[in-house]
Structures are given as structure tokens and as C-alpha cells.
């Protein structure tokens, strides 16, 4: 499941993606509000080829699979069908992004907890308008192979912070799925690196409220996630998060405003 070349042979891959499909369907019509899908032609027109149950190759675009009812199924956890809203161009107007802070040096991950200080530039971070959303990006993620470990990403706290404070400041997880094929992609795709983005607007607002935002260092902590061994587990039965022999490099940790 952790290797992009073999993931589809793992049954959990199909459960995982079916669940994503369900979550997307629920999100699209959740809470009586119709969330809008992206309108960009490059996203809607992106095609994928696969094989149907008769083994025939089928090519479909994103546009053709947005509505599950058109495909002949609905989820029983899905809220009542909401009429498709007319796309609002304003909702997809281009964001104005501004870099407000970034690290200078790459960060190696080997399975240990790592805390990085990201200097938030005083001039770039002011003014911090009410309509601004803040994102922390992990850029230029590179490595030979997926180490099989994922990391929890915490913003505004170090590794030594109390667990309840850590939980409040957790912005997401960092995984390395697809890292093997990034620089030498299989098939007809350009080389690329991986990047992850995490919204941290509320945490940035809290830091600004206590005067620890513009001109200060933002702590970003990567905490490896590992399974806890049960009492009856044999030694070595549960793998640790350590991957010193297969390090991953995070090229840059950056913080962006998005108005």
C-alpha cells in the first residue's frame, strides 16, 4: 500500500479510495450547503484510463465522475441530494499568495521527532488582514523510497509540549506516498517533487493575538507515528518509525498568506 507501483494490489487501497469517494460525496452536499468543486479546466478535463469489469479500457475525465448519482450509486450516509449549484466564478477567483516565512536549510527526517523554526518575516507578515488564510507548506520532499512512516504535523508547539496542547496545534499528517516516482515518474508524466499544504489560520491568529507572529519564529514539529506494541507482541513484530537507512529530506518549510 505504501508503494505507488503496487498499492492497487492491496485490498485496503480500494477501501481507502471508496471512503474518499464517500467523504467527497458527503462534503459536496453536507450541511445543506453545496460545496463547489474546482472549476479549472485543467482539473475538470484531466482524464484517467482504467479497465471496466469486462476488461475494456475506459477513459473518463474528472468532470464525468463528480456526481455519484450519474454513475448509478449513492451513499446511505449522504445527505439529501442537493441540486447542482450554478458554478460561481467568484468562488474560484485566483488567490493572491504571499510568502511570509520560510526555512533556509533542508530538514532530514529519519524517524525521530523534529522541530523546525520558521522565521516569520515582520514586513511580509504585516498587515495580517481579516480575510487572509494562512498555510504552512512542506516543499521539495525528496527521498529514495517511502520509509513507510508517517508524521503528525504540529504548528506553534515543540515536541516537548503537553499532549493536549499538541492536539490543538495539530494541522495534519505528512506521508510520503509516491516519493519513489517523483523524480523519475512512470508513464508519460513530468518529473516533480512532493509538496504538502496545511491550513493554520486559527493558530496564526492566536499567535498574533499574543504578539508572537510577525517577526517571530514559528515552530513546526514533525512527530513520527508508530504503532504501539501490544503486550503479547513478539520482539521485532511491530516495526518502529525509525528509518535512518532511508531518510527523507524536506527541502523547505514555508508559510504563505492566501487572500
Amino acid at each position: 500500500m505504501g508503494n505507488i507501483l503496487t498499492a492497487a494490489q492491496d485490498p485496503i487501497f480500494w477501501l481507502h479510495h471508496a471512503n474518499i469517494d464517500r467523504i467527497w460525496a458527503e462534503w459536496s452536499g453536507a450541511f445543506g450547503a453545496h460545496h463547489e468543486d474546482p472549476q479549472e479546466a485543467s482539473w475538470r478535463g484531466q482524464t484517467f484510463s482504467f479497465f471496466d469489469e469486462q476488461g475494456h479500457q475506459v477513459t473518463m475525465s474528472c468532470d464525468q465522475v463528480l456526481d455519484t448519482s450519474v454513475l448509478g450509486y449513492e451513499y446511505d450516509t449522504q445527505s439529501a441530494a442537493t441540486p447542482a449549484a450554478t458554478p460561481k466564478v467568484a468562488a474560484v477567483s485566483p488567490p493572491a499568495r504571499e510568502l511570509v516565512g520560510a526555512t533556509d536549510e533542508p530538514v532530514p527526517l529519519t524517524g525521530q521527532s523534529v522541530t523546525v523554526s520558521v522565521p516569520i518575516d515582520a514586513r511580509a507578515a504585516e498587515p495580517f488582514g481579516a480575510n487572509i488564510r494562512v498555510y504552512v507548506n512542506v516543499e521539495e520532499i525528496q527521498g529514495e523510497a517511502n520509509p513507510g512512516s508517517s508524521y503528525g504535523v504540529y504548528v506553534g508547539v515543540g515536541a516537548a509540549a503537553p499532549p493536549d496542547q499538541q492536539a490543538e496545534n495539530r494541522v495534519g499528517n505528512l506521508s510520503f506516498f509516491g516519493i519513489e516516482q517523483a523524480q523519475n515518474p512512470a508513464g508519460d508524466a513530468p518529473a516533480h517533487t512532493l509538496q504538502s499544504s496545511y491550513e493554520m489560520t486559527s493558530i496564526a491568529r492566536q499567535l498574533e493575538a499574543v504578539g508572537k507572529w510577525a517577526g517571530h519564529d514559528l515552530l513546526v514539529t514533525f512527530e513520527p507515528m508508530a504503532l504501539d506494541a501490544t503486550e503479547d507482541a513478539a520482539p521485532g513484530e511491530v516495526s518502529t518509525a525509525n528509518h535512518e537507512d532511508n531518510p527523507v529530506e524536506l527541502g523547505r518549510i514555508s508559510v504563505f498568506y492566501d487572500a
Binding site: E40, L99, D104, P190, L194, S196, R252
Partner: protein, 260 residues
């Protein structure tokens, strides 16, 4: 949380409307370079100075101007025009990389870092042009249908070579860019070198065809520019390379059959 593939062609498609003023200026320079080339071509055509086999951008080397010029003369007279052509032909392809520099820098540092990026871009292309013009002058190569057809066949073959894919990957590569300071400037310089050298390694064969186009150089310049930009921007680069190779082969056959 969003995790995504991050490569320059995708950046172009997703964020091509997020131009900052500096990249808009670069776009203006691109248009101005094409206008300059068009004016130069129309001017020389109207003056009748050059015969039909003359070399538009290299008058001193054109056979109609009395044979081959000295190396100094070629470099002295042709490099400015060559740089104008390079800006016209390659700037569109390099704009996503310039925008990448702009987006990943502080606003107050943006102009300086973009200047550093474009300086490296011009220097790398200048080094290539100097080498090519010197080689052509030294070898006493001249334009003509046979030379053009051979160059186009070479370009078509190169499109299908594995090294071309390597060079394109180098074009598409992003880099870790510290936002300011000497580290930031050095990183942008290194990014400019990797990106532009990848572009030169990717497009040198097409450029040779353009050098040897003779009287149809404006036409070849437009065609190779379109092919180079398409090859660099395509989301499916292998398919693009096959199409470009086919187009070059057709162009080679046309050059031989029409005798331009």
C-alpha cells in the same frame, strides 16, 4: 491538507493567472522581442539587401554578402540579434520558472531575485549562442534546403532520444529557494542554471535547424518556438515529443521537396 505533485507545467496550468508585475514585465519583453524580430525581418526584406538565400539574422555570414565572415565579426554583429531571438523563442517557456521564483520570494526581494534568474538565463543562452555561432563560422556551414532538412531530421531524432527526456525533466525541476539573503540569491542562481541548461540541452537541436533555415528562418523560428514551448509545457511530455518529431520530419520533407 493537500498533497500534490509539484512540477512547473502543473504550476503553469494552475497558477498562470497569478502573474506578479515582474513576470508581466517579462511577458511584455517576450512580446517586444517578437515585435523586434518581425520589424528586423520586414526591414531587411523591404530593403532588398539580402537575397532569397540570405541568412536573416546573420547578414555577415550570408552567402549573398560575400561569403563567410570572421569569427570576431560574427560574434560582434550577431550576438545582440541572437539574444533578441532567444528571448522571443524561449521566454514563454521560462516564464513558469520565473513565476516560481516570484511566488517563492518576499515581495521586496522579488525584483532583485528575478533579475538574478534572468541574468543567468541570458548568460547560459549567450554561452550556447557563442559556441554555436563560433562552430558554424569555423566550419563554414551555410544555410540551404539540404542543411535545413538534415538539421530537422537531427532535431526529430533527438526528440525521441532518452537524453531529451532527461533534459526536459531538468527543465521541469523545482528547487528549494531560501526567501532572501545571499543563500536566496545563490539558490535562485543555481535554479536559473539548472532550468536554463536543461532548456539548452532540450532545445539545442531545434536551434540548429533555426540557424540553418536561410530565407525561411522567420517561418522556422515560429515553428521551432511553438514546438519548444509545447514540448516544455506539455503535461504528457512523451506524447508531445512524438508529435514534435513527426512535425519536424514533415518539415524536413517539405524543405527538401520545395527546396527552400
Amino acid at each position: 491538507v493537500t498533497t500534490r505533485r509539484f512540477a512547473l507545467p502543473a504550476l503553469w496550468e494552475t497558477h498562470r493567472h497569478e502573474w506578479c508585475p515582474q513576470t508581466a514585465v517579462a511577458g511584455g519583453l517576450f512580446a517586444a522581442a517578437w515585435a523586434g524580430c518581425a520589424v528586423s525581418w520586414l526591414g531587411t526584406s523591404a530593403s532588398g539587401v539580402r537575397a532569397s538565400s540570405a541568412w536573416w539574422c546573420m547578414p555577415d555570414m550570408a552567402p549573398s554578402r560575400g561569403g563567410h565572415a570572421s569569427l570576431y565579426s560574427v560574434l560582434h554583429h550577431e550576438l545582440p540579434t541572437y539574444l533578441l531571438m532567444i528571448v522571443a523563442m524561449t521566454l514563454a517557456g521560462v516564464l513558469p520558472a520565473a513565476q516560481y521564483v516570484a511566488v517563492n520570494s518576499f515581495r521586496r526581494k522579488r525584483s532583485a531575485l528575478l533579475c538574478a534568474f534572468f541574468a543567468i538565463y541570458l548568460l547560459v543562452w549567450l554561452a550556447f549562442g557563442t559556441s554555436m555561432l563560433s562552430a558554424i563560422a569555423t566550419a563554414h556551414l551555410g544555410p540551404g534546403p539540404d542543411a535545413l532538412a538534415l538539421a530537422l531530421i537531427l532535431a526529430a531524432s533527438y526528440e525521441l532520444a532518452p537524453f531529451k527526456r532527461w533534459a526536459l525533466n531538468r527543465c521541469h525541476r523545482t528547487a528549494r529557494l531560501p526567501p532572501s539573503g545571499m543563500r536566496g540569491a545563490l539558490a535562485v542562481g543555481r535554479f536559473g542554471w539548472v532550468n536554463t541548461s536543461g532548456c539548452v540541452a532540450s532545445c539545442w537541436a531545434s536551434m540548429i535547424a533555426m540557424f540553418l533555415a536561410g530565407a525561411v528562418q522567420p517561418l522556422v523560428m515560429v515553428g521551432t518556438s511553438a514546438a519548444m514551448t509545447y514540448g516544455r509545457m506539455a503535461r504528457q511530455p512523451d506524447r508531445a515529443r512524438r508529435r514534435i518529431a513527426a512535425a519536424y520530419l514533415v518539415a524536413a520533407m517539405v524543405a527538401l521537396s520545395v527546396g527552400v
